[in-house]
Each structure stands twice: as C-alpha cells, then as structure tokens.
C-alpha cells in the first residue's frame, strides 16, 4: 500500500479505538445471524492486522481462541445433554444414560436435532463476536494508555497501578535470578516449598525498590498537582452515595417489574450519572504541559462515527424486526439484511482512514 507522504505516523487516541470497539460490540450483541457475526469478527481481524498498537503483544488471538472454545463447548454440551429447544430434523440418536432421581431434569444422550445445534451455534457465536470486538480494542490501543484519562479523584489509585505495571516484569526477573542462584547452590528448584522460599526475597526486594520510589516521589512533591478541598470531597461523597442509592432503587424497579417503569431504568440512569459525576467533582488537576500528547483529530472522530454507524444500524434493525437480524433456527441459509452488512463494512473503514501507528516506546505515566 502506498500512502501519502504528508500523513504523519502516529498512535491514535486510545479512547477513539475503545469507543469504536464498544460500538461494534453493541452491534454484535443485537444479532444472532451467523453471517453478520462472522463479518464482525472479520472486521476486527482486518482492522487489527492493519492498525495494531505495536507496543504490545497482540491480544486479539487469545480472545478469538476463547470465543472458539465457547462455541465448541456449547455444541458439545448440546450434543451430549441436549437443550430446551427440540427440533424435527433429527440428525442422529445417542444412547440414553439412565440417571438417579435427584438429578432432576438432566438427560444424557438421546436424539440430537439440527435445530437445537443451530440454536447453540448462533447463540454462542454472538458471545464470541462480542469478545472479538473487545480483543480488537485491546489490540488497537493498549488499555494502559487509558490510565492517563482517569479522573483526578483516582490519581493515587492510577499511580499505584502504574507502579504495579512497572514492577511486575522486574518481579519476575528477580524470581528467575533467585531461582538460578539457589539452583547453583544445589537446591532442587521445584515444589511448593521452593516457591514459598522464592516469595520472601522477591517481595523483600520489591518493597526495598518501592519504598525507595516513595521517598523519591515525596522529595519531588508528589501529588501537588491535585487540588481538592474538604468541601469538594464532601460534595463528591454525597453525590456518590445518592448515586449508588439511585442505582439500587432503579435495579429494584427493573428486576421486580411490578413497581412500574418510572422507578426502573430512568432512576438507574440518573443514579449512574450522579455516581459518575462524583468522580469528576471530588478533585481537579493543575494544568501542566505534557510530553507526547494524544491528539484528537478528524481520524478519531471518523473512527468513533464508524463504530456508531454499525451499532445504530443493528439496534434499529433489531427493534424494527428486519428479516434476518434474529433468524429462525431452520435448516436453510438465513436471510442477510443488506443495510446491516453495509453498516458493518463501514465499521471496517478505520483500517484505511486512520494514521499508521508508529513504533513508540510505551511511556508509562499518569501525568496530567
């Protein structure tokens, strides 16, 4: 592929990729049409191969494997234990295993119908497609880059996570060192007792290192970037408590169903918004200059819009009941709604529209 000289290579804003992934996941969760779902997985694979974040190992593959395992397990369970949906097209019959009385409604073996296999396949494919979208988001923008955008109230917690991310590989290196030195002294390097022996020197070193880090953080005026008055904190606490209470009330209304609609979803949404706002109110940061800022340019907006188009089309389709969005389990190819296919093709556009990621060293900082 040739690309114009003027397009600078840069990493896209991580929030754009995650919003795109969540949009595509929303689209996948609204349909059980295997054609559309495989198309979603295809879109994920194409975009990741074109624009994966080079600073991390590609996590899409484990997510795809997990999805495949889910599909295979569901089919196996359906063959052996059957599922609630009977069918007229019996493929083959397994011998029945007699079970004792207490096992309730479980049956092992019996006739296997094509319809029930299709039901299991469609349903588990949907879960696999949603997982593929999340894996794609993980691969396109490493979630640790999102740590920068935590609200100021979570500044401390975010810093602790960054410290953890930095020290975890060193911890493993320490463990290897201790093991090899023990092996040199003639200890057998296997067994639980040996693992336990490793833990003490390794953690001891980790504490040494991190308390040294704490001392240097304090001497450099750590945490002065935060402005938070007792009044702010009290307001945030009050909002958080009210928000969680609202969420609880909303859940009660939703789950009970007899309370009425006004107490359900609206109250839940208001409570969640209050709780989210409490994260913003509690503290604020001093503005400061930043190294290597993530910019939000036209390509980010387009990326989010492409994800939103896919989500919108399938939500509308499932509400309006387009033919083929939720196909029946009949032994025939399901109808494929053309608008949904077009929307998913649009969702693949970021593979071309976005700037190519440049290899940068993963800067781990939560400065803001």
């Amino acid at each position: 592929m040739t690309r114009p000289e003027r397009v600078r290579e840069r990493l896209q804003h991580p929030a754009a990729w995650w919003l795109w992934g969540l949009g595509l996941a929303t689209a996948a969760s609204r349909t059980t049409n295997p054609v559309l779902l495989l198309l979603v997985v295809g879109v994920c694979v194409v975009v990741v191969t074109e624009r994966a974040d080079p600073s991390v190992a590609n996590p899409l593959v484990p997510f795809l494997v997990l999805g495949a395992v889910i599909v295979v397990l569901r089919l196996l369970v359906t063959v052996v234990l059957g599922n609630g949906t009977g069918g007229s097209t019996v493929l083959f019959t397994l011998p029945r295993v007699p079970l004792p009385e207490w096992a309730g409604g479980i049956r092992i073996g019996g006739p296997v119908a094509l319809e029930s296999l299709l039901y299991a396949l469609y349903d588990s494919l949907r879960l696999a497609a949603v997982l593929a979208c999340l894996g794609a988001a993980n691969a396109l923008a490493s979630p640790r880059r999102l740590l920068r955008y935590l609200p100021a109230t979570l500044y401390d917690v975010g810093t602790a996570v960054v410290v953890g991310l930095t020290f975890a590989p060193q911890l493993l290196a320490d463990a290897r060192t201790v093991r090899s030195s023990r092996a040199l002294r003639g200890h057998d390097a296997r067994g639980l007792r040996e693992t336990a022996r490793l833990a003490v020197p390794v953690l001891e070193t980790a504490f040494e290192r991190s308390l040294g880090l704490a001392a240097s953080m304090e001497s450099r005026g750590y945490g002065r970037a935060l402005r938070s008055t007792p009044r702010d904190r009290r307001l945030a606490s009050a909002m958080a408590l009210l928000g969680v209470l609202g969420v609880l009330g909303g859940l009660y209304g939703l789950l009970d169903g007899s309370v009425g609609g006004a107490l359900g979803l609206p109250l839940l949404v208001v409570g969640a918004l209050l709780a989210a706002a409490s994260l913003v109110v509690g503290a604020s940061r001093d503005t400061r200059s930043r190294h290597r800022r993530d910019e939000w340019a036209l390509s980010e907006t387009l990326t989010v819009a492409c994800g939103a188009v896919a989500a919108g089309a399938l939500v509308v389709g499932s509400v309006a009941g387009w033919e083929g969005v939720v196909p029946p389990q009949s032994p025939a190819l399901p109808a494929v709604p053309l608008p949904a296919v077009l929307a998913l093709v649009v969702a693949a556009a970021p593979a071309v529209l976005t700037p190519r990621p440049r290899r940068v060293h993963d800067v781990q900082e939560v400065t803001a």
């Binding site: 484990p62 007792r193 504490f207």
Partner: protein, 312 residues
C-alpha cells in the same frame, strides 16, 4: 510549595519492643461515607451476581441478553467510585508504593499463570496484604492486583469489574479476620480463609456468565427465567459441580498450602515493610533553635533488612 526553611520535620517512631510488632497500622482508614458507599456497592454487586435468582420472567424476556453487559458496565463504574471514596485523595507516597507492590505481585502471578486458568496464587498476596495493613489496603490491593494482571495480559473484558469486586472483597475480609496478629493460630486461620475464598470466588464468578447460557442449554443445568428460587439454585449447583469445581478446588488448596508454607515469612516481610515505612508516625515541626540542642534521631530505629528471613 516551598518548604518552610525555619522548621525541620522529624519522624518519631517508638522503637519496637519485641521482634514482632503487634500494633496494626491503619494505612487507609475507612471514613463513614466510604463504609456506607462500600456497603451499598456491595449490595449492587450482590444483585449483579444474583440477578438470575431475583429477576421476574418479563424482565428476562425484555433484557435477558443485555443484563450481563449492563451489570458489567454498572459494576465497572461503581467499583471506580468505591476506589475513589476509599482513597479520596488521601494516599501518601508510601501507601502508593505498598499498593504498587501488591499490584505488581498480582500482575506477575497473572503473567506466570496465563496458561493455567484457575490456578491463580494471586490471592495469597492479597490476603497477606489485607491481614497486615488493614481492610482498606486489602480492598484496594485486591482490586488493583486483578486490574494490573488484566492490563499486562491485555485481558480487559466484561469479567474484569466482577473480578475486581470479588478480589477486593477477599482482601477486605482478610483485614477483618478476628485473630490476634502474630498469634500461633494466625497461620491456620489465614490458610482456612484462603481455601474458603478460593472456592467461593469460583462459585460466585461463574454466576456472571451463567445467564449467557440462557434458556437454551441443557435442561437441568440452565437458568430458567421466572422459575422458583429453589429450582434455579439447584440448577446452578449442578452446573457448578459439572463445570467449575474441578478448577476451583485446586486453586483453593494451592492458596491454602502457600499460606501455610510461606505465610509466616510473608507476614514478617509485610510487617517489616510497614514498620520501615513508619505509617502513622506523627510528624512534628519544630524551629531550628530547638533542634540544635536536642539530639533527635532522623532515621527511625529499624532492624537491618538483611538480618532476618532465609537467605536467597
């Protein structure tokens, strides 16, 4: 902020009277709004896990497919609110360093055991941290250990909020165990706790994806919308026995054995780190004139790190 040049800070710590200090430092004190928020979020978490047993049939018809995703988003938000309330901008650098070690240990364990799902000895560090540094630290370090593991292996998915809540609860519970620090029974109490939580963690974590199997899996194991509570409970029990107990039992046993074997030494490591960080030591400012004629020790009196514990 410029330092006040006319004053000098001294940290005064009581010299340890015995080799093992039995005073538990309050590293993250829980204020009453934080406790209230924790209790309420715990309730929401209980609903998020147990909704298949509570929901009416028409709720499942209307939202059955979306409910697990809704609860994942909701719990993610509320867990962040909880962490913000518990930390509330009061963590000093030393606390962050200790939390960072717990998070690093969780992340490293996840890197090691990426292939063996279920055999996660991560909890054993979280249990020890909660035990030594109190329920607040246990909660935060549990949540952060799971998060760090997920960020390192790129496994950020809908299961993460549920895992954060469970791991945080395990650390919190370890901090509240009614056993005297450095007592002879401590090792066994912690081991029993690790075994129990290892089993419970699996039983509870399976609940989040059980509804995904929907009404369309094997009769007798599947979630039946609107069925009486006892029927769904027995179905879930059978499902758990069939799918998950084989993974959870080894995890619980492994954690318990690790606590029995390495627990006392690890507790010593954590207690020594807490003592050296001098949490809760009063910081007093005095003018330079007073400081000249009084011999104030600058460094807290701590035993040398290298004189205890097995040598590597």
């Amino acid at each position: 902020m410029s330092a006040d040049t006319g004053a000098r800070a001294t940290v005064t710590t009581a010299a340890p009277t015995s080799p093992v200090r039995t005073v538990r430092p309050r590293v993250i004190g829980l204020s009453w709004p934080a406790v209230a928020a924790l209790a309420l979020v715990g309730l929401v978490g209980a609903v998020a896990f147990a909704w298949p047993f509570l929901a009416s049939a028409d709720f499942v018809r209307a939202h059955g497919n979306d409910a697990p995703w809704l609860f994942a988003v909701l719990l993610g938000l509320l867990t962040l609110v909880c962490l913000a309330e518990v930390s509330s901008g009061r963590l000093d650098a030393k606390t962050i360093a200790v939390l960072g070690v717990a998070a690093a240990a969780g992340g490293a364990m996840r890197l090691l055991s990426a292939g063996t799902a279920g055999l996660e000895p991560m909890f054993f560090v979280v249990v020890v941290a909660g035990r030594v540094l109190g329920p607040g630290v246990g909660l935060v370090s549990g949540a952060l250990a799971v998060t760090t593991g997920a960020l390192l292996t790129g496994g950020v998915g809908p299961w993460l909020p549920f895992q954060m809540l469970c791991a945080g609860a395990i650390g919190l519970g370890a901090g509240l165990l009614p056993v005297r620090p450095a007592a002879r029974a401590e090792r066994w109490v912690l081991a029993a706790y690790a075994l129990l939580t290892g089993l419970l963690y699996g039983a509870v974590m399976n609940l989040w994806f059980w509804p995904f199997l929907g009404a369309g899996t094997a009769p007798g194991l599947a979630f039946v919308p609107g069925a009486p509570l006892t029927e769904n409970l027995s179905h879930y029990g059978l499902f758990y026995l069939a799918t998950s107990l084989g993974w959870d039992l080894p995890r619980g046993v492994l954690n318990a054995v690790l606590v029995v074997v390495a627990g006392p030494a690890l507790l010593r490591v954590f207690r020594r780190a807490a003592r050296r960080a001098a949490f809760g030591a009063p910081v007093t400012f005095e003018s330079r004139a007073d400081a000249v004629d009084r011999d104030v020790p600058d460094v807290p009196d701590v035993p040398d790190v290298r004189d205890a514990g097995p040598r590597p």
